[in-house]
């Protein structure tokens, strides 16, 4: 599928319609059942504060798109990725995702330090929804890409962070997913591996993979994305040309820094 680039009818793969995510944050320590019962009996009630992480977001991406998401910390970027990754259901609105999603936000999720690299490939791979049989067939390819043959039968606690990341990336992207979610992780690992992984992402993209990337690295965003959404306090302030998005975002950030905090 990646080898020959036939013209694609670019289908809609991600569609968010007026999505809201509301967190309930208990204001007092009523997170225990004991506390809850005592408060209910005493008729004091449990007070919660609402926090709107996303407030009416509408956003879409087609096959082959490379969408960037920028915004300050706590603007709702990661929540947005979680909605697409199916980790979270919106409080209201609609989330439509078509295809197999590979979340790179979960690099190394579920790695077990006492198990070997090989065993962890199976554990991590199945956590991402692969079947054992497929992983067995792809094992050689996965280890090749990570360049970890020497250490593959050593417990993973002996691995460096970089080696962990290489293995995790290699497992998560061994097969071309329909949608790749990247959360600030490409900056990990040495320069050569970074280049190698970007090369793989770009090859998949030509094969029709859609990518959504959250990053604070404006250079990566500028170089990789063809569309960028700027999110601020749970709302979209701008979607479109990467240059414009980055400019508006950085200007707003500078202005905010200049003003005294509210």
């Amino acid at each position: 599928m990646n080898e020959h680039k036939e013209p694609m009818n670019r289908e809609r793969v991600i569609q968010l319609e007026n999505v809201r995510v509301k967190y309930q944050v208990p204001t007092e320590s009523a997170r225990t059942l004991k506390e809850f019962i005592i408060r209910s009996v005493q008729n004091r009630g449990v007070h919660t504060q609402e926090f709107l992480a996303l407030d009416g977001i509408s956003l879409e991406a087609d096959q082959g798109d490379f969408l960037g998401i920028i915004g300050a910390n706590g603007a709702g970027k990661s929540t947005l990725l979680k909605l697409i990754a199916q980790v979270m259901r919106p409080t209201s609105g609609r989330v439509y995702v078509r295809g197999r999603v590979a979340p790179l936000l979960a690099m190394g999720a579920g790695f077990h330090p006492d198990l070997t690299g090989r065993e962890n490939i199976f554990l991590n791979g199945t956590l991402l929804g692969y079947q054992r049989g497929d992983l067995e067939k792809r094992l050689e390819h996965i280890v090749d890409f990570a360049g970890l043959w020497e250490f593959i039968d050593a417990p993973i606690r002996t691995f460096s962070t970089g080696m962990n990341m290489r293995l995790a990336f290699s497992v998560a992207t061994d097969l071309q997913p329909d949608i790749l979610l990247v959360d600030e992780v490409l900056s990990v690992g040495d320069a050569i591996f970074q280049e190698k992984s970007l090369e793989r992402i770009n090859r998949y993209r030509e094969g029709g993979m859609t990518t959504v990337m959250v990053s604070h690295g404006m250079d990566v965003i500028r170089n990789q994305c063809d569309r960028v959404a700027w999110i601020d306090h749970g709302q979209i302030r701008y979607v479109g040309d990467p240059g414009t998005a980055i400019e508006r975002y950085t200007t707003a950030m500078h202005e905010r820094e200049a003003e005294p905090a509210l």
């Binding site: 309930q24 979680k82 990754a85 989330v95 999603v101 936000l105 199976f122 956590l127 079947q131």
Partner: protein
């Protein structure tokens, strides 16, 4: 890889079938993960210890020796008391360990749940699966103890799979039910630790039900574990066939608990991602 067009999964919050059914379909899709998690739990636990897998078998033997020493003077009427205790202890440990481990990973395993999608039930199932592996391994020391104490080993021992499956279903149901509460109030996990101690003594593991006064017996019989322990002991320790009536009660309780637990947990498990 070109097959993706035919089997493209579609996730649409506007068009969701029943959550309980969706969870079931997803669990099937992630079945290999269940195997991996059990493998991880069984092996990783023993990788650093010299005794390795033998520890699984020695562990209940140690408890058995202590409990038998303490209680054998009180319950002198039970022949082969050591084997009697061990048979009850094995099935009880299976239940208490799987429920505790399952609740812990569902309620506290949040980091993973907040980062990637998984049918969360998988963690409860694998906890029960791990307990099942440990139980099956512990059947070896049970057979040995029965031989040593002179309890006749009968062919009904093979029927032990039936109580094992029933307890597994019941344990899974309880795990899911309590975890549904634990999603909102994590201290349920700690409360359960206290409750399970009491539950242990309300289950005839160390004693026989008929030593209790009739009035008390009536209430104790409302404890479903009574029937599971009974069936397990019938096939192993007593070497007899259990009655159809008891089997029906046990199977009914197990199935009902599992169905209710599954349904409720499927409704609330999404909340886990919202908990910071």
């Amino acid at each position: 890889m070109s097959t993706t067009t035919q089997t493209t999964p579609i996730y649409d919050t506007d068009r969701q079938r029943s959550r309980a059914l969706y969870e079931l379909i997803q669990v099937w899709h992630y079945r290999d993960l269940i195997y991996q998690l059990i493998y991880r739990d069984v092996t990783a636990r023993y990788k650093r210890s010299v005794l390795g897998i033998a520890w699984t078998m020695l562990n209940p033997l140690g408890t058995m020796i202590i409990l038998s020493l303490v209680f054998s003077q009180i319950f002198t009427s039970i022949e082969g008391y050591v084997a009697y205790v061990l048979s009850g202890l094995l099935v009880w440990n299976f239940f208490s360990q799987s429920t505790t481990a399952g609740m812990n990973s569902l309620v506290w395993g949040g980091d993973l749940f907040r980062r990637i999608y998984l049918p969360r039930t998988v963690f409860a199932i694998s906890a029960v699966g791990t307990g099942m592996v440990n139980l099956v391994l512990s059947l070896v020391p049970l057979l040995l103890v029965m031989l040593v104490v002179g309890v006749k080993i009968s062919a009904t021992f093979l029927l032990v799979v039936i109580p094992i499956i029933l307890v597994a279903a019941f344990a899974l149901g309880i795990t899911l039910l309590l975890s549904s509460v634990g999603v909102f109030f994590p201290d349920v996990v700690e409360m359960y630790q206290i409750a399970i101690q009491a539950w242990f003594y309300l289950t005839p593991v160390l004693y026989k039900l008929d030593i209790l006064p009739d009035a008390v017996q009536f209430w104790v019989r409302l404890n479903p574990m009574v029937y599971f322990v009974d069936i397990f002991r019938m096939t192993t320790f007593y070497g007899q066939l259990f009655s159809w009536r008891i089997l029906a009660v046990a199977a009914g309780v197990a199935a009902l608990t599992l169905i209710i637990g599954w349904w409720i947990f499927a409704q609330v498990s999404e909340e886990l991602a919202y908990r910071a």
